[in-house]
Symmetry: C2
Subunit: 465 residues, 2 copies
């Protein structure tokens, strides 16, 4: 069996692994950087729903290897079967052995399949971040579908529903909670998303628990979905999109510490507990919440890539230039012109954690005057801690700038901005590009007004008289 | 003569005055708030260029009085002629006298007309923020123009040029500096703006000094513009857009201290030097630069409105919830799909101030994958102080999200973010709404790489071996 030597071995080639490789190659140009993964070609994870509608094919959503190669890294297709963390070796499924100096686990997550009958039937599928798998899905399964049920009303379920309905397929979303998107948004934003989907013909079943998937007359293929207390719904395919679990088989076999929620334990520099030469990044790594240090289950590509940059920079001693401050949870999406995004805690989450909260809200047009072309209303709600006035989170419903507005809220959270900071914030305004008043400034002002009223209910004194 | 009494008198009804009135009415609900101004109707300042193209008329750019009235404030049309700051009275041009408890000067700015011959000819005009003036311009002068020269290649000149050329008018921009927009952007961004304007048929004369405006054969109307060292250019109208000067006649007569650059001296809460009951906001008030405390000449509506919010909140004792940290200078604009914006210092300005600088750059698509519809390239350049690694400024060339990206840079500056803060920044990414990598994260990473190289030119040691 062949033995090869690398300096940095990265196991897994999704956003976390690739970004680790790119960053490592840039910051340690004299080291050999190798990413190894089983998939020949990878896709851009957040682009997957759009393969089936807007993009019109898998080839339009390829995640290229060019940035890794340009940075000086290498990519190898293969499967790592076993790792010896004392000998610093990895054994591949073809028997070859690889020696490494630094190891980065970026093994990702696997879809969670609920323990109900029928999930093994033909036509029941979930989304995997694998080009070949998705291409087969696109070219063979999807064209046969007339009526699809999606189990799970989170981001993937909602985005997939909106794209797939554009192909003329009847779509039903089945969600156990009272609202779609409820884990991420406060109820009014959820209701706006539901309204938009319904306007496009998507059927929504909330507060609905799936009891079983039933076969069709042939007995091998899914034919019905049974929701508790309802008549069975006839479908010809079912997408399961209720979340993922960290893929940690290699890490467990190596004896690395796992967190109680199942991810690989990592410090603020993505280093394992056992060995500062072994790192973990992305969906397979445990995530702490920015506010509470509790587990945060935000398994998203942007977070994964951020962790890859942190690890890639700190492989050979701590640069202290990048570290993981805990997951803020920043998301956005869009359904046919209605964009919605969130950063940090929702009102409900903040209250559950025990924060006395102060909420500020605003509605304004995203261009000014509102008579400018393509003007959409922005709704912005910011949640502050009532006593310290620090920002805890924010939600936006709006148009094309929603994603960047949510990122601005994310930065405000990470920089520990307060309501006075945001109410005093300077901003640029331009008719074609922005509102005349920045939504964060308006919402922070609204919050301060609420804060101020009970303190000074009746201003009559004149300190300078 | 009638005598009336108000609690809060605000002189001037542009963005600064109106925002002061709205905020004061909200935060001091038991006080009588009165805004007085000469214009019957006001317009939204940054919307003015669009009256002449995109909006197609002055009525589409009205700045309503509804928000002031809804907050409980009042608006009176009139001209204040004299103010007695000891007696706390204001005398109007109709002889009526008004008593006040707090006074806010929001008297704005007047256009600077250069000392060259011919500026008094018919057909030579500048932009005033007055509905009646602009409506006359739109309905009488503009329809007669076939060939327009614009003196001044800043934001107003550039935006006006792009809108007016849509009416089939031949437009020439004459700028004294080597590039358009040079006061706000580094040269590569300026060059992109010039290229975009030229592609739309706008003629650009840079490094060009205007010597005189010459009359046509009738002798009363402008017929030619004489640029030094060139043949005179035949035109039938000239727009002068080279900046404004604070309008401080009332303040000077009252004996308020003015700054060396001509604005009313104000503290961080917009209070005059002489009397904490007298405030000044907007274009008439002196502005300090966020970084240097030198004079900053950013006379823009968003800054004016920000100062109005600060004053409105602090009229009766300092709330310390909002204060003026100095002008960051945040601007953006757009020419037919090419948007460009800036916050803070440019590379050139930072160097002139004596900052050793570190620059990070990136180019990436504003959606991902780049095959998504309506995808535009974003160019992002961030300037950091080389030693402290603090952010000093940033420039964006891009698409629809440019304005909000510039505002994110603005927030980073105001929160004193460092390159490591930004390189470690978490963000959301969504195919339809954002790049897969946040431009600030990418540019900060690029800067850190440059910072890091000379410190650790050859990493070979292994601290954990």
């Amino acid at each position: 069996m062949a033995e090869t030597v690398t300096d940095i071995l990265i196991v897994g080639g999704g956003p976390a692994g690739m970004m680790t490789g790119i960053t490592a190659a840039q910051f340690s140009p004299h080291k050999k950087v190798l990413v190894i993964r089983p998939e020949t070609d990878a896709v851009i994870p957040c682009g997957i729903p759009y393969i089936f509608g807007t993009l019109g094919g898998t080839d339009e959503d390829m995640a290229g290897r060019a940035p890794l190669l340009a940075a000086g890294g290498q990519l190898q297709i293969g499967t790592v079967q076993q790792i010896d963390r004392v000998a610093h070796t990895a054994t591949l499924s073809d028997g070859n052995v690889m020696h490494w100096e630094r190891l980065v686990l970026a093994t990702g997550a696997e879809n969670f399949i609920p323990p109900i009958p029928g999930t093994g039937l033909e036509g029941v599928f979930s989304i995997r971040k694998d080009y070949d798998y998705l291409d087969t899905l696109f070219s063979t399964l999807i064209p046969q579908i007339k009526k699809l049920a999606i189990i799970g009303g989170g981001f993937i379920g909602v985005e997939f529903a909106d794209e797939i309905r554009k192909r003329g397929i009847e779509v039903h979303i089945v969600e156990m909670l009272p609202h779609l998107m409820q884990a991420a948004f406060d109820p009014d934003a959820c209701a706006a998303v539901e309204k938009q989907l319904r306007a496009h013909g998507v059927h929504i079943h909330t507060g609905a628990r799936v009891e079983a998937l039933l076969p069709d007359s042939g007995g091998r293929r899914v034919g019905q979905i049974q929701i508790a207390g309802q008549e069975a719904l006839t479908v010809d395919a079912v997408l399961i999109a209720i979340g993922t679990r960290p893929q940690v088989a290699l890490a467990r076999d190596m004896g690395l510490t796992l967190s109680r929620s199942g991810g690989i334990w990592v410090d603020a520099f993505q280093r394992s507990r056992e060995d500062p030469n072994i790192f973990a990044v992305g969906d397979c790594a445990h995530k702490q919440d920015f506010f509470t240090r509790k587990a945060n289950h935000a398994m998203i590509a942007s977070q994964a890539a951020a962790e890859g940059r942190i690890a890639g920079m700190n492989l050979y001693g701590l640069r202290q230039l990048r570290y993981n401050a805990g997951s803020v949870s920043i998301y956005a999406s869009e359904i046919d012109g209605l964009a919605f995004g969130v950063a940090g805690l929702t009102e409900r989450q903040a209250e559950l954690e025990g924060f006395p909260i102060l909420v500020g809200e605003t509605r304004l047009p995203d261009h000014h005057p509102a008579s400018m072309p393509n003007t959409t209303e922005i709704y912005c709600r910011i949640i502050f801690a009532a006593d310290s006035l620090q920002i805890l989170g924010g939600q936006i419903l709006g148009g094309a700038t929603t994603g960047e507005l949510v990122n601005t809220i994310g930065l405000a959270i990470q920089m520990h901005a307060s309501a006075p900071d945001l109410a005093s914030m300077q901003f640029g305004s331009q008719p074609r590009l922005t509102p005349s008043l920045h939504p964060l400034v308006a919402a922070a002002g609204d919050a301060l007004r609420r804060h101020y009223e009970p303190l000074h209910p009746c201003v009559t004194g004149d300190p300078h008289a």
